[in-house]
């Protein structure tokens, strides 16, 4: 009995210090277990204070939670408000015309939307097989001891700041593409029409590759989590039916985790669409739609990064904010789909807890 009463006092005194009067009540009860009546009386006496403190604390954390909603609301509101000028002038033509002329104050964001979609899709094409392979290797094949180290390495890849990816892209990747990668692609795949024209190094292809590297970690770590959520019995059942190791991965793991993996891919797409600095540094920043992946392009995010602090006219600023609004809307839809897919497989719980 005595030990049970002492427990909270120990918890109490260690972290919180002497900040509250109510600790006196429980403390007294623990020191003198015989004088239970006065202690109980004391607690009862404090009920009014406690109710007040409870209410205050509750209000405080609710305010914190509300602040999250207020911030998101403010972001949406400000984007709409600041882009009012350009919305009124261009309407939906903003999304479908390709002239971006700050001098004549004529703005159409189609090249940037095109560039955003093409660079992100290119990144997905490159990153998805690699990420899924890595996730399968970490969850299913590699020895237990390697697992932690591999996960840490993947996490470190995610920790590299975007601007450093860009720096590396300019001074390492782009020259390499110019001298090795692009001549190779032009010679063997030039007939597709995707790989022709002058070989700058910098351009859509470089942006796609950099983006692919940047979204590898997120796709890998989330598909790893959903793969871990696939019940052990599924694998055992496949093995019992005589499946090879590869067939187990295909039938038991990949098939059962497909909704979550799809979610991970969409989440990666969301990252790629919103990524700014690295892309700005390697994509070449030219508002034109070109078929060749060697040509420079533009993305919504890099357009804002490049021009926002240099825009002088109100219309130019407003058009750039509208570009931001388009970007916001696209990522919102993409992320909502991804969250739903992941939620549908992990049932709203963090996958880690299931595994």
């Amino acid at each position: 009995m005595r030990a049970q009463i002492k427990l909270p006092v120990k918890q109490d005194s260690a972290p919180a210090g002497a900040e509250s009067p109510s600790s006196n009540g429980t403390g007294a009860a623990a020191d003198k277990p015989l004088s239970l009546v006065p202690a109980a009386f004391k607690i009862k006496f404090q009920t009014k204070n406690n109710a007040f403190a409870d209410g205050t604390f509750r209000t405080l954390v609710i305010l914190c939670a509300l602040s999250v909603m207020v911030i998101v609301g403010l972001i949406a509101f400000e984007l709409v408000r600041q882009s009012h000028l350009s919305m009124a002038k261009f309407g939906f033509k903003f999304l479908s015309t390709s002239i971006w002329d700050p001098v004549a104050e004529n703005f159409g964001a189609l090249p940037a939307i095109y560039g955003t979609l093409v660079s992100s899709l290119l990144a997905l094409v490159l990153a998805v097989p690699l990420s899924l392979g890595t996730a399968l290797f970490i969850t299913e094949i590699c020895p237990r001891r390697l697992r932690g180290i591999l996960s840490l390495l993947v996490e470190l890849l995610a920790a590299i700041p975007s601007v450093i990816y860009g720096l590396w892209g300019i001074f390492f990747l782009a020259p390499l593409l110019r001298t090795e990668g692009q001549p190779f692609l032009a010679r063997y795949f030039g007939w597709t029409g995707l790989f022709e024209g002058p070989k700058y190094g910098i351009g859509m292809l470089a942006a796609g590759i950099i983006l692919a590297i940047m979204i590898l970690p997120i796709i890998t770590s989330i598909s790893r989590e959903v793969m871990l959520a696939v019940p052990r019995q599924q694998r055992e059942a496949a093995l019992a039916l005589g499946a090879t190791r590869w067939e187990v991965l295909r039938i038991a793991v990949l098939r059962n985790a497909r909704a979550g993996i799809f979610g991970a891919i969409i989440l990666g797409l969301g990252r790629a669409i919103g990524e700014t600095m690295a892309v700005t540094m390697v994509i070449g920043n030219r508002p034109e739609i070109a078929r060749s992946l060697f040509a420079p392009g533009y993305t919504l995010a890099s357009m804002i990064a490049n021009e926002f602090s240099e825009a002088t006219s109100d219309m130019h600023l407003s058009a750039l904010v509208e570009v931001g609004l388009v970007l916001f809307a696209i990522t919102l839809i993409v992320n909502a789909i991804a969250q739903f897919m992941i939620w549908s497989i992990t049932r709203g719980m963090p996958a880690r807890n299931i595994a």
Binding site: P8, Q11, D12, A14, P15, S20, S22, G25, T26, D54, F57, I62, C64, A65, S67, V68, I71, V72, L74, I75, E78, R81, L130, S131, L132, G133, T134, F137, I141, G148, L152, L153, E155, L156, A159, P161, S162, V163, I164, G166, L167, W168, I170, F171, F172, L216, W246, L249, G274, T276, M277, A301, I304, A305, S309, L327, T331, N335, Q339, P350
Partner: protein
């Protein structure tokens, strides 16, 4: 088929790890030569003069991170506590969804918003605006991980505390939160490491500065901004400085991540992932 498939998986893993080593290798190789005492103590030299450093940018990043932490940590932890202790219902789900939305918003869009809300009103690019932008970016990460670690505290602990007549707020603050403290600290440190390298939200909030600035309401230099400005400049000398800056930034971020992970795996920070 079995052999081919497994081989492809191992190959994919090797290809995924390659960029990490390539990038780290390049940054160390090209940056290490420019790391001198002056790099940490001097401010940038004008074009054409050699030497100089990034002292102002390092201090600027530290101060911006300070402001960001003041905003991001209380709001993040507070809303995390709400989600774990009061938010097992529909309104909690709305907050959860909103936090995920905030997490997905591109950093450059947050930059625009802070520009409109703070810079336009202040009539100044400023350290404060940069800190607010990064602080907003910290909130969702801290919030969701705080919720996660708080939920790992067994329900019986809460019941035991409540059963002893300890009021609920006291139960949360003195019993539940301390037992999840290490997990919360982990999430805070990882969130800091994540936003410390952010450039896009600082472009038109903190803006960058070639000189010292310690005032809240003045444009200020930051390490990632400086790296960006130097990287796209045409001067060889500035490229060298960009690599050196990248080395300092990447090492401090990785050191934080590895330290946190190491502490976690050694059980020094219990309850964390």
């Amino acid at each position: 088929m079995n052999f081919l498939g497994i081989g492809a998986i191992v190959g994919a893993t090797l290809v995924v790890l390659m960029p990490l080593f390539l990038i780290m290798g390049t940054v160390i190789y090209r940056g290490i030569g420019s790391i001198t005492w002056a790099f940490f103590t001097r401010i940038p030299q004008p074009v054409g003069e050699t030497g100089g450093g990034m002292a102002n940018a390092i201090v600027g990043t530290a101060m911006i991170m300070g402001v960001a932490a003041l905003i991001g940590i209380p709001l993040g932890v507070g809303s995390g506590i709400y989600l774990a202790e009061y938010g097992r219902n529909a309104s909690g789900n709305i907050v959860r969804f909103t936090a995920d939305v905030l997490n997905g918003i591109p950093s450059i869009v947050i930059g625009i918003t802070v520009y409109a809300l703070v810079v336009l009103i202040q009539h100044h690019f400023s350290l404060l605006a940069g800190g607010i932008a990064l602080g907003i970016m910290m909130i969702p990460t801290v919030c969701r991980t705080t919720e996660e670690v708080l939920l790992m505290v067994p329900q019986s602990v809460r019941e035991a505390a409540l059963g002893l007549g300890i009021p609920q707020w006291r139960t949360t603050l003195s019993v539940v939160v301390p037992s999840a403290a290490s997990g919360i600290i982990t999430s805070i440190m990882l969130a800091c490491a994540r936003v410390a390298g952010e450039t896009a939200p600082l472009l038109f909030t903190a803006f960058g500065n070639q000189f010292w600035n310690l005032k809240l309401n003045q444009p200020t230099a930051a390490l990632p901004l400086q790296i960006f400005a130097y990287a796209i400049s045409p001067y060889e000398e500035w490229h060298r400085m960009a690599w050196a800056g990248a080395l300092v930034l990447i090492l401090s971020i990785m050191a934080t991540v590895i330290l946190v992970r190491f502490a976690t795996s050694r059980g020094m920070l219990k309850g964390a992932h």
